[in-house]
Amino acid sequence: MRTQIRWIRLAVVVVALAALFGGPAGAADAVKFKLDFSPVGYHAMFYSGVSRGVYARHGLSVDIIPGTGSYAGVMDVAAGKIDFAFADSATLALAALQAGVKDVKIIAMVLEVTPYSILYLRNHGIAKPPDLAGKTMANFQGSGVGRLFRSFARINGVDASGVKEILSAPPTYLNPLVVGQADFAPSTVNQTVNLREPARQAGNDLAEFRFVDHGMNIHGAALIANVQTLAQRKDLAKRFVQATLESVQWTARNPEAAVDELLKSNPQLKKDRALAELRSILSVSVPRGTTAGDPQQLGWTDAGTMVRTVDLVRESFGLSQQVDPAALYTNEFVTRP
């Protein structure tokens, strides 16, 4: 009888311990993660992390929130409403310079190389950057990449004084370029693959000047967090960065499968277009992710590139304020390559 009671007690202890340490669903830390835009192809990097259980394996329950631009993501993180966001480095620099945002840091550089580019129509007499002088630019009010065109113009010898602008709403501002009402537009490399065929249908030959190839080698979008989150929930930030970088690397090596994962939660997207978009971003902006090297090579923020990013934002936006570029990021959560 006594032996039976001992066994029962042991069983109770085992069950209790299992409930304490073995309950994966209940134990996961909830994380709110905001994207830069509404879900598109390159967001497969994050959605596949959720659907393949990468975040869950790091004890995280990640809620991905569609974004409305990097600036909104930076402000949400600054206000502490969102744990992490995927936001453009240049936009973070702008928020620090212009709005005095000091409490937000880059914790992992996902798009090591900016995907920004100038989309232009070859058949409108443009072959090299100086040909943009006197042409018409499609743009939207408040466009960050539109303002960076000023630095692009200076570096590439474009006389920007005669450039005319067609301003329209952000989601559709590239339409005038596609139909040939505008000659060029500041945008990103993933839009080139989206728009080349529609432009051809309208009788136009679309091409691009990538920023990275034209003296504008700056960082792209990164994972950002509030300094309070980093101080109070350091382990959470570390796990989030690790899981995200794992997912980015898997996506870089398995883009088609990653898009399949993306479509599970975003079935409204078209697979071929999402895949082309993802591949273009990976090839330009995630160069290290495509190799089979150390997964921790991803995520590193380069000091020199960050200085250049801040300098070009200051120049383009005509800002006199100063900010220490080193204060905008930390490499604490990634291993040096």
Binding site: S38, D76, V179, P198, A202, Q268, K270
Partner: protein, 258 residues
């Protein structure tokens, strides 16, 4: 039965013909002007998108419909309530009415991000924005209706020892019903606009989310299809209120324009 069917066909034939002509003109314009499908898709592509099974249409429609109904319901209850208060108290009318006007004029789209920041990235800010957009006509139309009662009727009720509440409930409120239904009809269409605008700012699902997402991904046929469902949702909602009006106020039917 057959005669009614023929009469119905004759009645709606011109509208159907106009719709068919518009669709044909749309198809022709896309072809002749060589407009890329990512900007204006041909009607056939939109029709395909409307029945595209890879898009969870019932879910997206239900999300938007819920936001519209919740925001609209709040606008109706609080709008009628506030109108009663304004009519009953001149002092409160002077204090509150400027704020109601301000809330109507202020561009909601500019303040929407602040609402999401304050209340979180869920459906509550969308319902609040829908409410704010739909609220004003309910207050103004109801207040106008409550104030439309012939003063002699008020005096008559008071002469029979009727209380303020009796005057309101037995005379002012019934007299104001046609005005309230006018407000309901205007508010119902504004609620659809409000929910859509809010979804443009932030959403994970819904017809507004689909429109923005498809614009970002250059899937114009999906955007047009989502807009079509949004229009149908708005029309159905409006028709429901018209039906309710006919049921509640059958005597007002011959004078009605819509």
């Amino acid at each position: 039965m057959r005669r009614r069917l023929v009469a119905g066909l004759v009645r709606y034939a011109p509208a159907a013909a106009l719709a068919a002509f518009a669709v044909a003109a749309w198809e022709a314009a896309v072809l002749v002007l060589r407009i890329p499908a990512i900007i204006v898709p041909p009607p056939f592509e939109v029709a395909l998108a409307l029945v595209d099974r890879s898009v969870d249409w019932p879910h997206h429609i239900a999300v938007t419909a819920l936001e519209i109904v919740a925001g609209f319901a709040a606008a109706v209850v609080l709008g009628i309530g506030l109108a009663v208060v304004l009519v009953m108290s001149q002092f409160l009318a002077r204090v509150v009415l400027p704020w109601v006007l301000l809330a109507q004029i202020v561009p909601k789209i500019a303040f929407a991000p602040i609402l999401f920041l304050t209340f979180g990235y869920n459906q509550l800010p969308t319902v609040i924005i829908t409410f704010l957009v739909a609220f004003f006509p309910m207050v103004i139309d109801t207040a106008a209706g409550l104030g439309s009662l012939d003063p002699r009727m008020k005096d008559l009720l008071r002469s029979f020892q009727g209380s303020r509440w009796d005057v309101l409930w037995k005379a002012q409120f019934p007299a104001s019903l046609p005005f309230i239904f006018s407000g309901l009809k205007v508010s119902s269409t504004l609620a659809v606009v409000g929910a859509n605008v809010a979804e443009f700012v932030s959403a994970r699902a819904g017809l507004g989310f689909l429109i923005i997402n498809s614009q970002v991904t250059f899937n114009a046929s999906l955007a047009f299809a989502a807009a079509t469902y949004l229009i149908l949702l708005g029309v159905a909602f409006y028709a429901l209120i018209v039906a309710l009006e006919r049921w509640t106020l059958p005597w007002a039917a011959p004078h009605r324009a819509a």
